[in-house]
């Protein structure tokens, strides 16, 4: 079966009592891509994953996963999805190998397939040595990896990952990212929820930004970043007098973004050679005015800016990036 959209929702609404966890949410995820559901705590990301993985029924609207309606044909949806939830969804009293075998059998795979895949997945996830140990003694990173390995037993065409790397150290996080990229390269569709914007940036081909149960923006990471506006140049002056000299020489281009930190922000319009000329002109003007700059850095809009812009939270004053 082929269809362009592995996941498609129309007007999805879910209420808990009087509060709407999701409100009229429509989005699509193309087959073989990573889509990130991005949003703050309580935005409705987990509710969305639970509806798409047949754990919750929507109050209104429809959701199709792998071409099947989640409310009408949940069994067919279950046959083509894998889910790694926020909380550990393996049995921690069993060994890693026993978990893989049990869930493989419950996926109704024949024994030879179960044996071959369990061994291969333990190998891929670098858990071979811990295969016979109870999951209870695993580290957080090992548990996450096993959880994902179990989700992959039935080789699902659609994979839901609810905050897959929360609580992981950078090495485990990057290892998991590599695994996810490998799956997508082989045609798996991944829907992941995250609050970590760099994660969405690193993995996702498209981002669905939700806040308070509503979709507030969709697009590729670069489209969203473009919306957040232009790049800027941050200068940290050595003294208050230097701040005055800087603003005087740069005129209307410069804004004092943070007085206490002596942060002066200058918008940069150009890119490439034009951008470089702008930067040298700013530095040159500062040198001529005798304004001493302690540190400076170029700031490109990232998904953090999109996040703060869309959620309406004020962005904490950002110090200039790398030390000069």
């Amino acid at each position: 079966m082929t269809c362009i959209d592995a996941i498609a929702t129309v007007g999805l609404t879910k209420r808990y009592g009087k509060t709407a966890a999701l409100c009229d949410v429509s989005f699509q995820a193309s087959t073989g891509t990573v889509t990130a559901l991005l949003g703050p705590n309580g935005a409705g990301k987990t509710t969305m994953v639970r509806i798409l993985s047949t754990l919750l029924r929507p109050d209104e609207g429809t959701a199709r996963v792998g071409g099947y309606d989640v409310a009408r044909e949940p069994e067919r949806v279950r046959a083509c999805i894998g889910l790694t939830g926020q909380s550990l969804s393996v049995d921690d009293k069993l060994s890693g190998l026993d978990n893989l075998a049990m869930f493989g059998r419950l996926h109704r795979l024949p024994w030879p397939v179960v044996r071959e895949r369990s061994a291969r997945l333990l190998d891929i996830f670098d858990l071979g040595g811990a295969g016979r140990m109870a999951v209870k003694v695993y580290s957080g990173g090992m548990r996450r990896k096993l959880d994902l390995a179990v989700s992959l037993m039935a080789e699902p065409s659609i994979l839901f990952l609810d905050e897959p790397t929360s609580g992981l150290d950078p090495a485990s996080r990057h290892a998991l990212w590599d695994i996810i990229r490998g799956l997508v390269a082989h045609g798996t569709t991944v829907l992941l929820t995250t609050q970590q914007l760099d994660e969405a940036d690193a993995l996702a081909g498209s981002v669905v930004f939700i806040d308070a149960g509503r979709v507030v923006a969709t697009g590729t990471p670069s489209e969203l970043k473009a919306r957040a506006g232009q790049a800027w140049f941050d200068l940290i002056a050595a003294t208050d007098a230097d701040v005055i000299r800087l603003t005087a020489v740069l005129g209307g281009l410069a804004v004092v973004a943070d007085e206490a930190q002596r942060l002066v922000r200058v918008a940069v319009q150009g890119s490439g050679l034009a951008g470089m000329q702008e930067l040298t002109a700013i530095i040159g003007a500062a040198v001529r005015a005798g304004a001493c700059i302690e540190r400076f850095g170029l700031h490109e809009p990232d998904l953090d800016d999109v996040y703060f812009q869309l959620t309406g939270h004020a962005r904490a004053a950002v110090a200039a990036g790398q030390a000069a």
Binding site: A21, T46, L83, M102, L106, H107
Partner: protein, 269 residues
């Protein structure tokens, strides 16, 4: 959904059996992981046999059954089955609150296996309890006269009692909002055993209580086991036991399955 062809349905029956077996294996592995949960069916029955025999043995006159231990053993067997069943309450309640339940729910498996796995392990656990209880009974003077057929019938009735209690225990496990609450509720299973002919002959009870005890399933089961062990004709007790306990099994299973689906739909967000 369209009706499945007959062949697929036969295949599914085999898969349902496979699901039950996989979930039972899981429960057996839990026992291997926490062998302490076998205290219920090893140390505890021994203590009960010894205590009951020494405590009540001199005080209670049982009439035609010979020694008190010969009279009380079937009652202790039912108590053993009940304590084994309480483990199911705890296991089911713990499952319902753990993240792993989400994975079971998103698998194309028979959902009832989540409950029956624990129940099957319970049957094995209580068989162990049966052996220990009988052995402890022998040590304090229990002398049953049943032949091979009689013993086979005893084991069968005992397993039916365990099955009924275990499904009730699973039902309670599904109702509990926490493992602790479920464990408290599980006492409901234990209490009816004492309002029966398990520990004392019904003849000594006040008339109103006699009506209650004489007709409740525990009394029927205990009287059946007592007759079988002492090679007496069980009479109506056997058929009443089979129908009453069979009814409980069917009702508790149906209710538990419905409750599981219900909690499935309105589960934690």
């Amino acid at each position: 959904m369209t009706a499945l062809p007959a062949r697929t349905r036969r295949q599914s029956a085999a898969w349902v059996a496979s699901d039950y077996w996989e979930m039972a294996k899981r429960s057996f592995r839990h026992i291997r992981h926490d062998p302490e949960q076998l205290v219920n069916v090893t140390l505890q029955p021994v203590l009960i046999v010894v205590l009951v025999d020494f405590l009540f043995g001199g005080a209670i006159k049982t009439g035609t059954h010979g020694s008190y231990i010969n009279f009380v053993m079937p009652g202790i067997l039912v108590v053993t089955a009940a304590f084994a069943a309480v483990t199911t309450t705890i296991s089911v309640a713990a499952d319902m609150l753990a993240g792993v339940i989400d994975r079971f729910r998103t698998l194309p498996m028979a959902k009832s296996a989540v409950i029956t796995g624990h129940v099957i392990a319970d049957l094995a656990r209580s068989l162990c309890g049966l052996a220990v209880t009988i052995a402890a009974g022998y040590a304090v003077g229990f002398r049953p006269t049943a032949g091979i057929a009689g013993w086979a019938a005893v084991v069968a009735v005992f397993l039916l009692v365990t099955l009924a209690l275990s499904l009730l225990a699973a039902l309670i496990g599904l109702l509990g909002k926490s493992v602790e609450v479920a464990q408290q509720l599980a006492a409901i299973i234990i209490i009816p055993i004492f309002f029966s002919s398990a520990m004392v002959p019904a003849g000594t009870m006040p008339p109103w209580l006699r009506v209650v005890t004489a007709n409740q399933p525990v009394t029927q089961a205990v009287d059946t086991l007592r007759a079988l062990l002492l090679s007496q004709p069980p009479g109506d007790h056997l058929w009443l036991t089979l129908t009453e306990l069979g009814g409980i099994v069917v009702a508790a299973f149906t209710l538990a399955a419905a409750l599981f689906r219900r909690r499935n739909r309105f589960s934690r967000s």
